[in-house]
Protein backbone atom coordinates (compact mmCIF):
# COMPACT_ATOMS: atom_id res chain seq x y z
CA UNK A 1 0.00 0.00 0.00
CA UNK A 2 1.49 3.36 -1.07
CA UNK A 3 1.81 6.27 1.32
CA UNK A 4 -0.21 9.44 0.94
CA UNK A 5 1.22 12.56 2.55
CA UNK A 6 0.58 16.17 3.35
CA UNK A 7 3.17 18.77 4.40
CA UNK A 8 2.24 21.95 6.26
CA UNK A 9 4.18 25.03 7.26
CA UNK A 10 5.24 24.75 10.88
CA UNK A 11 3.10 27.46 12.51
CA UNK A 12 0.38 27.87 15.09
CA UNK A 13 -2.54 27.04 12.80
CA UNK A 14 -0.87 23.93 11.42
CA UNK A 15 -0.35 22.66 14.96
CA UNK A 16 -4.14 22.41 15.37
CA UNK A 17 -4.61 20.91 11.91
CA UNK A 18 -2.00 18.23 12.63
CA UNK A 19 -3.64 17.45 16.00
CA UNK A 20 -6.97 17.01 14.21
CA UNK A 21 -5.38 14.78 11.56
CA UNK A 22 -3.77 12.62 14.23
CA UNK A 23 -7.06 12.22 16.04
CA UNK A 24 -8.98 11.22 12.89
CA UNK A 25 -6.19 9.03 11.46
CA UNK A 26 -4.63 7.19 14.40
CA UNK A 27 -1.99 5.43 12.29
CA UNK A 28 -0.36 8.52 10.75
CA UNK A 29 3.35 9.25 11.05
CA UNK A 30 4.20 12.86 11.87
CA UNK A 31 7.67 14.03 10.83
CA UNK A 32 9.06 17.39 11.96
CA UNK A 33 11.60 19.06 9.68
CA UNK A 34 12.96 22.63 9.67
CA UNK A 35 9.94 24.94 9.12
CA UNK A 36 7.63 22.11 8.06
CA UNK A 37 5.57 19.20 9.36
CA UNK A 38 5.03 16.20 7.12
CA UNK A 39 2.20 13.79 7.90
CA UNK A 40 2.03 10.49 6.05
CA UNK A 41 -0.17 7.45 6.14
CA UNK A 42 -0.62 4.19 4.29
CA UNK A 43 -3.29 4.43 1.61
CA UNK A 44 -5.55 7.18 2.93
CA UNK A 45 -5.62 10.31 5.08
CA UNK A 46 -8.47 12.67 5.92
CA UNK A 47 -8.59 16.27 7.22
CA UNK A 48 -12.03 16.87 8.77
CA UNK A 49 -13.46 20.39 9.15
CA UNK A 50 -15.27 19.62 12.43
CA UNK A 51 -12.14 18.23 14.09
CA UNK A 52 -10.04 21.22 13.05
CA UNK A 53 -12.77 23.62 14.26
CA UNK A 54 -12.83 21.88 17.62
CA UNK A 55 -9.05 22.25 18.01
CA UNK A 56 -8.97 25.86 16.82
CA UNK A 57 -12.09 26.93 18.68
CA UNK A 58 -13.44 28.79 15.65
CA UNK A 59 -15.14 28.20 12.30
CA UNK A 60 -12.72 26.82 9.70
CA UNK A 61 -13.25 26.44 5.98
CA UNK A 62 -11.58 23.38 4.41
CA UNK A 63 -10.19 25.65 1.66
CA UNK A 64 -8.29 27.60 4.35
CA UNK A 65 -5.93 24.63 4.28
CA UNK A 66 -4.23 26.30 1.30
CA UNK A 67 -2.87 29.02 3.62
CA UNK A 68 -0.62 26.55 5.43
CA UNK A 69 -0.27 23.75 2.90
CA UNK A 70 3.15 23.08 1.35
CA UNK A 71 2.57 19.94 -0.65
CA UNK A 72 0.62 16.70 -0.80
CA UNK A 73 0.66 13.32 -2.49
CA UNK A 74 -2.34 11.20 -3.48
CA UNK A 75 -5.64 11.69 -5.25
CA UNK A 76 -7.49 14.62 -3.69
CA UNK A 77 -11.17 14.68 -2.81
CA UNK A 78 -12.57 17.79 -1.21
CA UNK A 79 -16.03 18.92 -0.16
CA UNK A 80 -17.41 21.26 2.49
CA UNK A 81 -16.67 18.85 5.34
CA UNK A 82 -13.34 17.24 4.56
CA UNK A 83 -10.31 16.88 2.34
CA UNK A 84 -9.06 13.36 1.78
CA UNK A 85 -6.08 11.82 0.04
CA UNK A 86 -5.96 8.29 -1.32
CA UNK A 87 -4.24 6.08 -3.87
CA UNK A 88 -6.14 3.63 -6.09
CA UNK A 89 -4.28 0.37 -6.26
Amino acid sequence: MSKVYIALQDNDESRYIVEAIEEDNPDVTVIHMPAMIRVENNGRLVVRRESVEEKMGRAWDVQELHLNLITLGGNVEEDDDELSLHWNE
Binding site: S2, K3, P34, A35, M36, E64, T71, W87
Partner: protein
Protein backbone atom coordinates in the same frame (compact mmCIF):
# COMPACT_ATOMS: atom_id res chain seq x y z
CA UNK B 1 -34.60 36.23 4.06
CA UNK B 2 -30.89 35.58 3.69
CA UNK B 3 -29.89 33.61 0.59
CA UNK B 4 -28.95 30.00 1.27
CA UNK B 5 -25.19 29.50 1.20
CA UNK B 6 -24.21 27.32 -1.75
CA UNK B 7 -22.19 24.22 -1.11
CA UNK B 8 -18.78 23.99 -2.74
CA UNK B 9 -19.91 21.70 -5.58
CA UNK B 10 -22.85 23.90 -6.61
CA UNK B 11 -20.76 27.03 -6.34
CA UNK B 12 -18.06 25.52 -8.53
CA UNK B 13 -20.62 24.48 -11.14
CA UNK B 14 -22.20 27.92 -11.25
CA UNK B 15 -18.91 29.81 -11.36
CA UNK B 16 -17.10 27.64 -13.92
CA UNK B 17 -19.17 25.36 -16.12
CA UNK B 18 -21.79 28.02 -16.70
CA UNK B 19 -19.09 30.29 -18.11
CA UNK B 20 -18.75 28.13 -21.20
CA UNK B 21 -20.91 28.60 -24.28
CA UNK B 22 -21.97 26.75 -27.41
CA UNK B 23 -20.45 27.77 -30.73
CA UNK B 24 -23.53 28.56 -32.81
CA UNK B 25 -22.07 30.69 -35.62
CA UNK B 26 -18.33 30.01 -35.35
CA UNK B 27 -16.46 26.78 -36.02
CA UNK B 28 -15.48 25.27 -32.66
CA UNK B 29 -12.40 23.59 -34.16
CA UNK B 30 -11.19 26.94 -35.48
CA UNK B 31 -11.52 28.36 -31.95
CA UNK B 32 -9.28 25.61 -30.54
CA UNK B 33 -6.84 25.00 -33.40
CA UNK B 34 -4.17 23.10 -31.43
CA UNK B 35 -6.50 20.68 -29.67
CA UNK B 36 -6.14 17.90 -32.25
CA UNK B 37 -2.74 18.23 -33.83
CA UNK B 38 -0.89 16.01 -31.33
CA UNK B 39 -3.28 13.12 -32.01
CA UNK B 40 -4.95 13.26 -28.59
CA UNK B 41 -8.61 12.30 -28.69
CA UNK B 42 -11.07 14.08 -26.40
CA UNK B 43 -14.66 12.93 -26.51
CA UNK B 44 -16.18 14.70 -23.49
CA UNK B 45 -14.54 17.65 -21.76
CA UNK B 46 -17.27 17.73 -19.09
CA UNK B 47 -15.67 14.63 -17.55
CA UNK B 48 -12.71 16.78 -16.46
CA UNK B 49 -13.03 17.56 -12.74
CA UNK B 50 -11.05 19.93 -10.55
CA UNK B 51 -10.94 18.22 -7.15
CA UNK B 52 -10.19 21.49 -5.34
CA UNK B 53 -13.18 23.14 -7.02
CA UNK B 54 -11.50 26.47 -6.59
CA UNK B 55 -13.50 29.40 -7.90
CA UNK B 56 -12.19 32.90 -8.57
CA UNK B 57 -13.76 34.48 -5.49
CA UNK B 58 -12.15 31.91 -3.17
CA UNK B 59 -8.91 32.11 -5.16
CA UNK B 60 -8.53 35.87 -4.62
CA UNK B 61 -9.51 35.58 -0.97
CA UNK B 62 -6.94 32.94 -0.05
CA UNK B 63 -4.19 34.22 -2.33
CA UNK B 64 -4.55 37.66 -0.75
CA UNK B 65 -4.18 36.08 2.71
CA UNK B 66 -1.08 34.21 1.59
CA UNK B 67 0.45 37.37 0.12
CA UNK B 68 -0.16 39.31 3.34
CA UNK B 69 1.61 36.66 5.40
CA UNK B 70 4.45 36.42 2.89
CA UNK B 71 5.14 40.16 2.65
CA UNK B 72 5.04 40.50 6.43
CA UNK B 73 7.93 38.06 6.56
CA UNK B 74 9.84 39.82 3.75
CA UNK B 75 9.51 43.08 5.70
CA UNK B 76 10.68 41.43 8.92
CA UNK B 77 13.64 39.85 7.11
CA UNK B 78 14.74 43.19 5.64
CA UNK B 79 14.19 45.14 8.86
CA UNK B 80 16.10 42.56 10.83
CA UNK B 81 19.03 42.61 8.34
CA UNK B 82 18.25 38.99 7.58
CA UNK B 83 21.33 38.65 5.36
CA UNK B 84 23.47 38.85 8.52
CA UNK B 85 21.65 35.90 10.03
CA UNK B 86 22.23 33.34 7.28
CA UNK B 87 24.41 30.45 8.35
CA UNK B 88 27.35 31.24 6.08
CA UNK B 89 27.90 33.48 3.00
CA UNK B 90 28.39 30.33 0.91
CA UNK B 91 24.66 29.74 1.30
CA UNK B 92 23.83 32.90 -0.65
CA UNK B 93 25.33 31.34 -3.78
CA UNK B 94 22.50 28.81 -3.84
CA UNK B 95 20.14 31.79 -3.91
CA UNK B 96 22.06 33.36 -6.82
CA UNK B 97 21.62 30.13 -8.69
CA UNK B 98 17.94 30.00 -7.75
CA UNK B 99 17.34 33.55 -8.96
CA UNK B 100 19.10 33.09 -12.29
CA UNK B 101 18.10 29.49 -13.06
CA UNK B 102 14.69 28.91 -11.46
CA UNK B 103 12.84 32.22 -11.13
CA UNK B 104 12.76 32.86 -14.91
CA UNK B 105 11.16 29.41 -15.27
CA UNK B 106 8.23 30.70 -13.24
CA UNK B 107 7.79 33.40 -15.87
CA UNK B 108 7.94 30.78 -18.61
CA UNK B 109 5.35 28.74 -16.69
CA UNK B 110 3.10 31.82 -16.47
CA UNK B 111 3.31 32.33 -20.25
CA UNK B 112 2.95 28.62 -20.94
CA UNK B 113 -0.21 28.18 -18.86
CA UNK B 114 -1.78 31.36 -20.24
CA UNK B 115 -1.26 29.98 -23.76
CA UNK B 116 -2.12 26.35 -23.03
CA UNK B 117 -5.22 27.18 -21.02
CA UNK B 118 -6.50 29.14 -24.00
CA UNK B 119 -6.11 26.07 -26.23
CA UNK B 120 -8.30 23.68 -24.24
CA UNK B 121 -11.90 23.25 -25.30
CA UNK B 122 -12.98 22.33 -21.75
CA UNK B 123 -13.88 25.18 -19.43
CA UNK B 124 -12.82 23.43 -16.20
CA UNK B 125 -9.29 22.88 -17.50
CA UNK B 126 -9.19 26.42 -18.92
CA UNK B 127 -10.04 27.94 -15.54
CA UNK B 128 -7.55 25.78 -13.64
CA UNK B 129 -4.84 26.80 -16.16
CA UNK B 130 -5.81 30.46 -15.81
CA UNK B 131 -5.39 30.29 -12.03
CA UNK B 132 -2.11 28.46 -12.41
CA UNK B 133 -0.92 31.11 -14.85
CA UNK B 134 -1.67 33.86 -12.32
CA UNK B 135 0.04 31.78 -9.59
CA UNK B 136 3.20 31.50 -11.66
CA UNK B 137 3.31 35.26 -12.22
CA UNK B 138 2.96 35.71 -8.45
CA UNK B 139 5.87 33.29 -7.95
CA UNK B 140 8.16 35.28 -10.25
CA UNK B 141 7.32 38.49 -8.43
CA UNK B 142 7.64 37.14 -4.90
CA UNK B 143 10.90 35.35 -5.68
CA UNK B 144 12.53 38.42 -7.22
CA UNK B 145 11.26 40.52 -4.31
CA UNK B 146 12.47 38.08 -1.64
CA UNK B 147 15.92 37.79 -3.16
CA UNK B 148 16.31 41.50 -3.97
CA UNK B 149 17.40 42.05 -0.37
CA UNK B 150 20.53 39.98 -1.00
CA UNK B 151 21.30 42.08 -4.08
CA UNK B 152 22.13 45.04 -1.81
CA UNK B 153 24.87 43.10 -0.05
CA UNK B 154 26.19 40.31 -2.30
CA UNK B 155 27.54 40.11 -5.86
CA UNK B 156 25.97 38.18 -8.72
CA UNK B 157 22.31 39.24 -8.49
CA UNK B 158 22.47 42.27 -10.76
CA UNK B 159 21.51 40.96 -14.19
CA UNK B 160 19.77 37.65 -13.68
CA UNK B 161 17.24 37.96 -16.51
CA UNK B 162 19.90 39.07 -18.99
CA UNK B 163 22.05 36.14 -17.87
CA UNK B 164 19.20 33.64 -18.10
CA UNK B 165 19.02 34.13 -21.87
CA UNK B 166 22.77 33.78 -22.44
CA UNK B 167 24.89 32.05 -19.79
CA UNK B 168 26.01 28.52 -20.68
CA UNK B 169 24.61 26.61 -17.69
CA UNK B 170 21.37 28.62 -17.66
CA UNK B 171 20.57 27.23 -21.11
CA UNK B 172 19.74 23.99 -19.25
CA UNK B 173 16.60 25.27 -17.45
CA UNK B 174 15.77 27.70 -20.26
CA UNK B 175 15.80 24.99 -22.93
CA UNK B 176 13.62 22.73 -20.76
CA UNK B 177 10.79 25.25 -20.74
CA UNK B 178 11.40 26.38 -24.33
CA UNK B 179 10.98 22.74 -25.37
CA UNK B 180 7.74 22.38 -23.39
CA UNK B 181 6.31 25.67 -24.64
CA UNK B 182 7.15 24.80 -28.25
CA UNK B 183 5.07 21.61 -27.90
CA UNK B 184 1.31 21.23 -28.25
CA UNK B 185 -1.01 21.98 -25.30
CA UNK B 186 -1.37 18.40 -24.10
CA UNK B 187 2.36 17.71 -24.20
CA UNK B 188 2.91 20.96 -22.29
CA UNK B 189 0.52 19.71 -19.60
CA UNK B 190 2.30 16.36 -19.30
CA UNK B 191 5.70 18.11 -19.30
CA UNK B 192 5.00 20.89 -16.83
CA UNK B 193 1.66 20.12 -15.19
CA UNK B 194 2.39 16.47 -14.59
CA UNK B 195 6.09 15.51 -14.77
CA UNK B 196 7.53 18.80 -13.52
CA UNK B 197 4.90 19.80 -10.97
CA UNK B 198 3.89 16.45 -9.60
CA UNK B 199 7.23 14.92 -8.87
CA UNK B 200 9.98 17.41 -9.58
CA UNK B 201 8.85 20.66 -7.91
CA UNK B 202 8.62 18.79 -4.62
CA UNK B 203 12.36 18.17 -4.77
CA UNK B 204 13.04 21.85 -5.33
CA UNK B 205 10.49 23.47 -3.05
CA UNK B 206 10.26 21.09 -0.13
CA UNK B 207 13.63 19.74 1.12
CA UNK B 208 15.66 22.64 -0.31
CA UNK B 209 13.30 25.22 1.21
CA UNK B 210 13.32 23.39 4.52
CA UNK B 211 17.11 23.76 4.14
CA UNK B 212 16.75 27.51 3.54
CA UNK B 213 14.94 27.72 6.89
CA UNK B 214 17.73 25.72 8.48
CA UNK B 215 20.22 28.29 7.14
CA UNK B 216 18.42 31.34 8.50
CA UNK B 217 16.85 32.53 5.26
CA UNK B 218 13.23 33.15 6.28
CA UNK B 219 12.42 35.15 3.14
CA UNK B 220 13.33 32.29 0.83
CA UNK B 221 11.69 29.53 2.83
CA UNK B 222 8.49 31.53 3.00
CA UNK B 223 8.25 32.25 -0.73
CA UNK B 224 9.19 28.63 -1.37
CA UNK B 225 6.45 27.21 0.78
CA UNK B 226 3.94 29.83 -0.32
CA UNK B 227 4.71 28.91 -3.94
CA UNK B 228 4.54 25.20 -3.22
CA UNK B 229 1.07 25.53 -1.70
CA UNK B 230 0.01 26.67 -5.17
CA UNK B 231 1.97 23.72 -6.55
CA UNK B 232 -0.26 21.40 -4.53
CA UNK B 233 -3.13 22.65 -6.70
CA UNK B 234 -0.96 22.47 -9.82
CA UNK B 235 0.01 18.89 -9.10
CA UNK B 236 -3.65 18.06 -8.73
CA UNK B 237 -4.30 19.71 -12.10
CA UNK B 238 -1.45 17.69 -13.62
CA UNK B 239 -2.77 14.44 -12.17
CA UNK B 240 -6.34 15.20 -13.24
CA UNK B 241 -5.32 16.03 -16.79
CA UNK B 242 -3.33 12.82 -17.21
CA UNK B 243 -6.14 10.66 -15.83
CA UNK B 244 -8.58 12.54 -18.01
CA UNK B 245 -6.49 11.90 -21.15
CA UNK B 246 -6.10 8.22 -20.29
CA UNK B 247 -9.83 7.81 -19.63
CA UNK B 248 -10.95 9.67 -22.75
CA UNK B 249 -9.51 7.26 -25.33
CA UNK B 250 -7.20 4.24 -25.34
CA UNK B 251 -5.31 5.73 -28.31
CA UNK B 252 -4.06 8.44 -25.95
CA UNK B 253 -2.18 5.94 -23.76
CA UNK B 254 0.94 5.39 -25.93
CA UNK B 255 1.20 9.13 -26.70
CA UNK B 256 1.03 10.00 -23.01
CA UNK B 257 3.55 7.27 -22.12
CA UNK B 258 6.02 8.65 -24.65
CA UNK B 259 5.68 12.14 -23.15
CA UNK B 260 6.12 10.74 -19.64
CA UNK B 261 9.32 8.97 -20.72
CA UNK B 262 10.64 12.15 -22.31
CA UNK B 263 9.75 14.62 -19.58
CA UNK B 264 10.83 12.53 -16.61
CA UNK B 265 14.20 12.12 -18.25
CA UNK B 266 14.49 15.81 -19.05
CA UNK B 267 13.31 16.62 -15.50
CA UNK B 268 15.89 14.35 -13.91
CA UNK B 269 18.61 16.12 -15.92
CA UNK B 270 17.27 19.55 -14.95
CA UNK B 271 17.35 18.64 -11.28
CA UNK B 272 21.07 17.86 -11.32
CA UNK B 273 21.59 21.50 -10.31
CA UNK B 274 19.24 21.05 -7.33
CA UNK B 275 21.16 17.98 -6.22
CA UNK B 276 24.31 20.04 -5.70
CA UNK B 277 22.34 22.85 -4.04
CA UNK B 278 21.19 20.30 -1.45
CA UNK B 279 24.45 18.41 -0.91
CA UNK B 280 27.08 21.10 -1.44
CA UNK B 281 25.55 24.58 -1.21
CA UNK B 282 23.50 24.37 2.01
CA UNK B 283 25.98 24.87 4.89
CA UNK B 284 23.44 23.42 7.38
CA UNK B 285 22.14 20.32 5.69
CA UNK B 286 18.67 18.83 6.15
CA UNK B 287 18.82 15.65 4.11
CA UNK B 288 21.00 14.42 1.30
CA UNK B 289 19.93 14.59 -2.33
CA UNK B 290 19.76 10.81 -2.32
CA UNK B 291 17.37 10.79 0.65
CA UNK B 292 15.20 13.51 -0.88
CA UNK B 293 15.13 11.59 -4.17
CA UNK B 294 14.03 8.45 -2.38
CA UNK B 295 11.17 10.25 -0.60
CA UNK B 296 9.89 12.45 -3.43
CA UNK B 297 10.71 10.48 -6.54
CA UNK B 298 10.92 6.82 -5.64
CA UNK B 299 8.29 6.74 -2.91
CA UNK B 300 5.92 9.50 -4.08
CA UNK B 301 6.51 8.88 -7.80
CA UNK B 302 6.34 5.12 -7.26
CA UNK B 303 2.92 5.50 -5.60
CA UNK B 304 1.77 7.65 -8.48
CA UNK B 305 2.81 5.14 -11.13
CA UNK B 306 1.22 2.26 -9.23
CA UNK B 307 -1.98 4.30 -9.27
CA UNK B 308 -1.68 4.92 -13.02
CA UNK B 309 -0.86 1.27 -13.80
CA UNK B 310 -4.56 0.49 -14.24
CA UNK B 311 -4.52 2.62 -17.40
CA UNK B 312 -1.57 0.67 -18.82
CA UNK B 313 0.96 3.36 -17.85
CA UNK B 314 4.35 2.08 -16.64
CA UNK B 315 7.26 3.77 -14.87
CA UNK B 316 9.21 6.22 -17.07
CA UNK B 317 11.77 4.62 -19.39
CA UNK B 318 15.30 4.67 -17.88
CA UNK B 319 13.89 4.86 -14.32
CA UNK B 320 16.52 2.21 -13.56
CA UNK B 321 19.31 4.56 -14.73
CA UNK B 322 17.76 7.47 -12.81
CA UNK B 323 17.74 5.31 -9.67
CA UNK B 324 21.49 4.71 -9.95
CA UNK B 325 22.19 8.38 -10.63
CA UNK B 326 21.05 9.49 -7.19
CA UNK B 327 24.39 8.21 -5.84
CA UNK B 328 26.44 10.36 -8.26
CA UNK B 329 24.51 13.35 -9.52
CA UNK B 330 25.40 16.01 -6.94
CA UNK B 331 29.11 15.08 -6.86
CA UNK B 332 29.55 15.10 -10.63
CA UNK B 333 27.62 18.36 -11.00
CA UNK B 334 29.34 20.34 -8.23
CA UNK B 335 32.73 19.17 -9.46
CA UNK B 336 31.87 20.53 -12.92
CA UNK B 337 30.90 23.92 -11.48
CA UNK B 338 33.97 23.96 -9.22
CA UNK B 339 36.30 23.35 -12.16
CA UNK B 340 34.45 25.96 -14.28
CA UNK B 341 34.27 28.40 -11.36
CA UNK B 342 35.82 31.21 -13.43
CA UNK B 343 32.82 31.13 -15.78
CA UNK B 344 29.93 30.95 -13.30
CA UNK B 345 27.86 33.82 -11.89
CA UNK B 346 28.38 32.55 -8.33
CA UNK B 347 31.23 31.33 -6.16
CA UNK B 348 32.34 27.74 -5.76
CA UNK B 349 34.43 26.06 -3.08
CA UNK B 350 35.89 22.82 -1.77
CA UNK B 351 33.66 21.23 0.89
CA UNK B 352 35.02 21.52 4.44
CA UNK B 353 36.40 18.41 6.14
CA UNK B 354 33.16 18.04 8.13
CA UNK B 355 31.18 18.26 4.91
CA UNK B 356 33.36 15.65 3.22
CA UNK B 357 32.67 13.36 6.19
CA UNK B 358 28.94 14.05 5.93
CA UNK B 359 29.03 13.13 2.24
CA UNK B 360 30.93 9.91 3.04
CA UNK B 361 28.26 9.04 5.57
CA UNK B 362 25.36 9.82 3.24
CA UNK B 363 26.93 8.13 0.20
CA UNK B 364 28.80 5.16 1.66
CA UNK B 365 28.83 3.24 -1.62
CA UNK B 366 30.25 5.95 -3.86
CA UNK B 367 31.68 9.04 -2.20
CA UNK B 368 34.94 7.72 -0.76
CA UNK B 369 35.52 5.50 -3.75
CA UNK B 370 35.01 8.01 -6.58
CA UNK B 371 34.66 11.57 -5.34
CA UNK B 372 36.59 12.19 -2.11
CA UNK B 373 39.96 11.65 -3.84
CA UNK B 374 39.17 14.49 -6.26
CA UNK B 375 38.48 16.89 -3.39
CA UNK B 376 41.61 15.78 -1.55
CA UNK B 377 43.59 16.59 -4.70
CA UNK B 378 41.81 19.94 -5.08
CA UNK B 379 42.69 20.76 -1.44
CA UNK B 380 46.36 19.96 -2.08
CA UNK B 381 46.42 22.14 -5.19
CA UNK B 382 44.66 25.01 -3.44
CA UNK B 383 47.12 24.82 -0.53
CA UNK B 384 49.95 25.23 -3.03
CA UNK B 385 48.22 28.28 -4.54
CA UNK B 386 47.18 26.31 -7.61
CA UNK B 387 43.39 26.45 -7.43
CA UNK B 388 42.32 24.58 -10.57
CA UNK B 389 40.14 26.16 -13.27
CA UNK B 390 39.65 24.25 -16.49
CA UNK B 391 40.63 26.15 -19.63
CA UNK B 392 38.40 24.16 -21.99
CA UNK B 393 34.79 24.79 -22.95
CA UNK B 394 32.60 21.76 -22.28
CA UNK B 395 30.81 19.79 -24.98
CA UNK B 396 27.08 20.14 -24.44
CA UNK B 397 24.30 17.59 -24.89
CA UNK B 398 22.04 18.73 -27.75
CA UNK B 399 18.90 17.87 -25.75
CA UNK B 400 19.38 18.72 -22.07
CA UNK B 401 22.27 21.14 -22.77
CA UNK B 402 24.10 19.87 -19.69
CA UNK B 403 27.86 19.57 -20.32
CA UNK B 404 28.89 15.96 -20.95
CA UNK B 405 29.63 15.39 -17.28
CA UNK B 406 27.61 12.27 -16.53
CA UNK B 407 29.29 8.92 -16.36
CA UNK B 408 28.11 5.41 -16.93
CA UNK B 409 26.50 4.75 -13.54
CA UNK B 410 27.86 1.20 -13.45
CA UNK B 411 31.33 2.53 -14.27
CA UNK B 412 31.66 6.04 -12.81
CA UNK B 413 35.09 6.58 -14.33
CA UNK B 414 33.69 6.44 -17.88
CA UNK B 415 31.91 9.52 -19.30
CA UNK B 416 28.89 8.69 -21.46
CA UNK B 417 28.87 9.93 -25.07
CA UNK B 418 26.09 9.14 -27.52
CA UNK B 419 25.53 10.58 -30.97
CA UNK B 420 23.11 10.52 -33.90
CA UNK B 421 23.45 11.58 -37.53
CA UNK B 422 20.75 13.74 -39.08
CA UNK B 423 20.96 15.21 -42.59
CA UNK B 424 24.71 14.83 -42.72
CA UNK B 425 25.41 16.42 -39.31
CA UNK B 426 26.38 14.62 -36.12
CA UNK B 427 24.66 15.56 -32.84
CA UNK B 428 25.95 14.65 -29.39
CA UNK B 429 24.13 13.48 -26.25
CA UNK B 430 24.93 12.79 -22.61
CA UNK B 431 22.76 9.68 -22.38
CA UNK B 432 20.48 7.19 -24.10
CA UNK B 433 17.53 9.13 -22.66
CA UNK B 434 18.54 12.34 -24.44
CA UNK B 435 19.44 10.47 -27.66
CA UNK B 436 15.96 8.87 -27.77
CA UNK B 437 14.34 12.30 -27.46
CA UNK B 438 16.41 13.60 -30.38
CA UNK B 439 15.80 10.58 -32.58
CA UNK B 440 12.05 10.94 -32.09
CA UNK B 441 11.93 14.61 -33.21
CA UNK B 442 15.26 15.52 -34.80
CA UNK B 443 13.80 18.41 -36.80
CA UNK B 444 12.94 20.14 -33.51
CA UNK B 445 16.26 19.72 -31.74
CA UNK B 446 18.60 20.56 -34.63
CA UNK B 447 17.44 24.10 -33.85
CA UNK B 448 18.83 24.03 -30.28
CA UNK B 449 20.78 27.15 -29.31
CA UNK B 450 23.88 25.65 -27.69
CA UNK B 451 25.98 28.24 -25.84
CA UNK B 452 29.36 26.64 -26.51
CA UNK B 453 28.67 26.34 -30.26
CA UNK B 454 27.55 29.95 -30.29
CA UNK B 455 30.71 31.08 -28.48
CA UNK B 456 32.86 29.27 -31.05
CA UNK B 457 30.87 30.82 -33.88
CA UNK B 458 31.63 34.28 -32.49
CA UNK B 459 28.03 35.09 -31.60
CA UNK B 460 28.64 35.74 -27.89
CA UNK B 461 31.11 38.62 -27.73
CA UNK B 462 34.73 37.82 -27.58
CA UNK B 463 37.07 36.83 -28.99
CA UNK B 464 38.44 35.69 -25.62
CA UNK B 465 36.59 34.40 -22.55
CA UNK B 466 36.72 37.82 -20.88
CA UNK B 467 34.69 39.20 -23.76
CA UNK B 468 32.11 36.43 -23.46
CA UNK B 469 31.80 36.59 -19.66
CA UNK B 470 32.05 40.34 -19.19
CA UNK B 471 30.48 41.83 -22.32
CA UNK B 472 28.00 39.16 -23.38
CA UNK B 473 26.99 37.65 -20.01
CA UNK B 474 27.45 40.95 -18.09
CA UNK B 475 29.21 39.21 -15.20
CA UNK B 476 31.45 41.37 -13.03
CA UNK B 477 34.64 39.39 -13.40
CA UNK B 478 36.56 38.84 -10.19
CA UNK B 479 33.50 39.71 -8.12
CA UNK B 480 30.68 37.44 -9.32
CA UNK B 481 32.88 34.49 -10.21
CA UNK B 482 35.97 32.59 -8.95
CA UNK B 483 36.40 30.87 -5.60
CA UNK B 484 34.47 31.84 -2.49
CA UNK B 485 37.82 32.17 -0.72
CA UNK B 486 39.15 35.67 -1.23
CA UNK B 487 35.98 36.93 -2.90
CA UNK B 488 34.52 40.39 -2.14
CA UNK B 489 31.47 38.55 -0.73
CA UNK B 490 33.68 36.79 1.80
CA UNK B 491 35.57 39.96 2.66
CA UNK B 492 32.35 41.90 3.33
CA UNK B 493 30.99 39.04 5.44
CA UNK B 494 34.12 38.99 7.55
CA UNK B 495 33.87 42.76 8.09
CA UNK B 496 30.22 42.48 9.19
CA UNK B 497 31.12 39.70 11.58
CA UNK B 498 34.17 41.50 12.94
CA UNK B 499 36.54 38.85 11.57
CA UNK B 500 38.38 41.04 9.05
Amino acid sequence: MAAKKLNIKDKYRLLTRDLDWEYSYQDRQAAFPYEEFEGIKITDWSKWEDPFRLTMDAYWKYQAEKEKKLYAIFDAFAQNNGHLNVSDPRYVNAIKLFLSAVTPLEYQAYQGFAHTGRQFGGVGARIACQMQSIDELRHVQTQIHAMSHFNKFFDGFQDFSHMHDRVWYLSVPKSFFNDARAAGPFEFMIAIGFSFEYVLTNLLFVPFMSGAAHNGDMATVTFGFSAQSDEARHMTLGLEIIKFLLEQHEDNVPIVQKWIDKWFWRGARLLSVVSMMMDYMLPNKVMSWKEAWEVYFEEAGGALFKDLARYGIRMPKYADVIEKEKEHLSHQTWWTFYTHGQATGFHTWIPSDEELDWLSEKYPETFDKYYRPRWELAKEMEAKGERFYTKALPQLCTICQVPMLFTDMDNPTQTVYRSSQYEGERYHFCSDGCKDIFDDEPEKYVQSWLPVHQIFQGNCGGPDLTGVLGEFYKMNLGADNLDMKGSPDEQRWNQWKGKA
